[in-house]
Symmetry: C2
Subunit: 116 residues, 2 copies
Amino acid sequence: MTDNNCVQDNKGNMMAIQDAMYVLNGKWKIAIISSICYHNKRRFSDILNDVVGISNKMLSKELKELEINKLVIRTVLDTQPISVQYQLTEHGRSLQTIINNLTDWGKTHREMIIST
Amino acid sequence: MTDNNCVQDNKGNMMAIQDAMYVLNGKWKIAIISSICYHNKRRFSDILNDVVGISNKMLSKELKELEINKLVIRTVLDTQPISVQYQLTEHGRSLQTIINNLTDWGKTHREMIIST
DNA sequence: CAGTATCCAAAGGGATACTG
DNA sequence: CAGTATCCCTTTGGATACTG
């Protein structure tokens, strides 16, 4: 690989990272995806509990964006009262490795911060 | 593993994810880390170029936070005019796998969006 | 070059109350 | 239960100009 190709690759990589972050932006997206991912299927109120600090307004808004970007699927269940289930699409599930790695990194990070 | 342990694990995982995202928050952090990561050592003005759309004010602010959280090291080089080099700490470098995966995911995501 | 300072508009987001 | 609506304060962040 020539130097020039290498430069091109780096530019392409930066574009890809920024594309990814554009979809995953916001204070809560990754946490929401993780909540659904860890439980496979998850209801609105459960996600609200999993993601510490989020409000229903924000959860609703972020879920809507994730649905638009084809990362989650929303299913209304015919229960009384109504309940709504969220699942990851195949594309959303392809984030699983990243989520697992981030989880591990978070644990390490927490230990590092505590010990200093 | 009992059901109860499983629940505990999920809670722990959610905490870890939120710990991680607390440090990596903001519109630009991941892109900045990626820029430094891909080049090993990177100067302020180069990062400014890599991260499309960021302003010098934001770059300065975000780098300061990353430095406080022990993800990057800032080194002033004795050049004329002055230049400043940023590198990842070992802890910062431990994000490399995540960055690579995110980059790949971003490429796939872009293709998916374009094709629909 | 690598920032800092200031001004200001826009977006983010919490609290609370309300609806089907 | 799963949202929506409103109010309103806080944070983000762009543009521009300035400094060592």
